[in-house]
Amino acid sequence: MKEILRKARLRLLKMHFESGVGHIGGNLSALDLLLTLHHRVMAGDDQFILSKGHAAGALYVTLWSLGLLAEEQLATFHKDGTKLGGHPVPHGIPEIPFAVGSLGHGLGLAAGLALGKNLRGQPGRVFCLLSDGEWNEGSNWESLMFIAHHRLREVVLLVDLNGLQGFGATAEVANLGSLANKLKEFGLEVREVDGHNTDAIEQALKTPPTDRPMALVARTIKGHGVSFMENKLEWHYLPMTAEQYQMAVEEANRL
């Protein structure tokens, strides 16, 4: 797993450097979660919905690490004519069923997929990755009420709690207090983990929930693994210079 993580982090950095694209901070915070989920947790009938669409790069790299995206496809990221846009596009690749990027959509979509599975008697869980800033969106609270009320146990929320959003710290923009407590109040079973501890993530996701839908609140570090990016707001948007990229690669290699 360690080697998968290292390779994926390097590939993600390379992809964002070559395309001159930002959003690397929120991709690095989510990468360990995505890799652990896809390599160690998800099975045949499970589905994954990305709600924090700006972590598209981390998802593409995860699919690449599973052999579901070829190197040549990955090389088209962010280029003219690509199916791998900065945010997932409609009818892009089969593993990513929805175009997302405007926040507050993925959870409702995941709820619909899970309800559809229920109504049709089909097996499998629906994992949905959200950011923490994304909880500013009212639609998420609508979806949360719906999931809790209908006891959609097939839905598993993963929250990438990195504490930073587009133009400030989440605590300073619209302080949520304890998101975990709020999710509990809404009727979910909540587990909290270190979002960079793959064993802990795996264990939390593999232990079935009791009678309620489950949320995994993962404490993460924006820009994780690259010290000059860690917990820095600017790495929500900034692309890397050649020098910064070299430094990042050296650090990622050491992890």
Partner: protein, 303 residues
């Protein structure tokens, strides 16, 4: 039209891909459907954004969801969900907006839907069905189910004149012939205008067309309709919708593109709230010159 929609959907409610969501509306109307559809009738609560995303998820899972609310709570509140989740993915989600135009009358402007299809028709893959008569509803439902793509069904109040036999539902229908102007009406407004116009002497009587499906497909504009306005020389479009994004603008565009323009073109449309006051649907129509008497005056001024 809600009652007949309920009856129609009851007949499909046992199909394996049927599912119906309502935004906590439909009291005294949807109960029979709830009874038959059972767990496939979902009151999603007063949370339209989630309701539309859920519907998109259901459609992706292989179902064909119906989503019901008072029109603006659906197309305006959940516009981005309709755009991103439903239309971008070309999913068979059938949106039902009750209260097209000023149908909610004195309930006030928050409940009116006078820019609904204009707002929605900018979205990819979506078609709009606008039944003019209650009898149209079952066929409009069939039509959008057969298309199996995003659709918006704009419901109003049935205003069919007594003794009028509604011709089979189609995007274009001629419901009255005469030697006067050629009038295209969108939606239930057609009933009152038909009742007023059909008693006119033939020399003044307009030819009435009902337009029920949008966007207008140029190739489907009937040759008989073109012949009608070329002969009469005056084309009038009447709709309970604002000018922007409305059927009048779309038809003018279509006719310009196909180089078959009338000598004279008049458009009657919803003008919002000219007096700043609210009232019944009839009150609002009168303020905008959409009521039958105003249309008759327009016809009598036609040379």
């Amino acid at each position: 039209m809600r009652t007949i929609l309920t009856r129609t959907l009851v007949s499909y409610a046992r199909e394996s891909d049927f599912v119906f969501l309502t935004g906590d509306l439909g009291f005294m109307a949807l109960e029979p459907l709830r009874e038959v559809a059972k767990e496939r009738f979902i009151n999603a609560g007063i949370a339209e954004q989630n309701m539309v995303s859920v519907a998109a998820g259901l459609a992706t899972a292989g179902l064909r969801p119906w989503v019901y609310s008072i029109a603006p709570f659906l197309y305006a509140r959940a516009f981005e969900q309709i755009r991103n989740d439903v239309c971008l993915h070309n999913l068979p989600v059938f949106l039902v907006g009750n209260g097209g135009g000023y149908a909610y009358g004195v309930m006030g402007p928050t409940h009116h839907a006078i820019e609904d299809y204009g707002a929605l028709l900018g979205l990819p893959n979506l078609t709009v069905q606008i039944p003019a008569f209650a009898a149209d509803v079952p066929q409009a439902v069939l039509r959008l189910m057969a298309a199996a793509r995003p659709a918006y069904l704009r419901l109003g109040r049935d205003e069919k004149p007594e003794n009028f036999v509604v011709p089979p539902y189609a995007p274009w229908r001629r419901i009255l012939s005469g030697q006067g102007a050629t009038v295209v009406v969108v939606g239930p407004l057609a009933g009152g205008i038909l009742a007023a116009a059909q008693v006119l002497p033939e020399s003044q009587r307009p030819t009435l067309w009902v337009l029920s499906e949008l966007p207008i497909v140029n190739a489907e504009i009937p040759a008989t309709f073109i012949a009608d306005f070329q002969q009469s020389g005056h084309l009038i479009v009447v709709e309970e919708h604002v000018v922007q994004g409305g059927a009048g603008a779309a038809l003018a565009h279509a006719l310009l593109c196909t180089q078959t323009t009338p000598r004279r073109f008049t458009h009657r449309f919803a003008r919002g709230y000219p007096s700043g006051r609210t009232g019944s649907q009839v009150f609002h129509r009168e303020e905008c010159g959409l009521d039958p008497a105003s249309i008759l005056r327009l016809l009598s001024n036609t040379p």
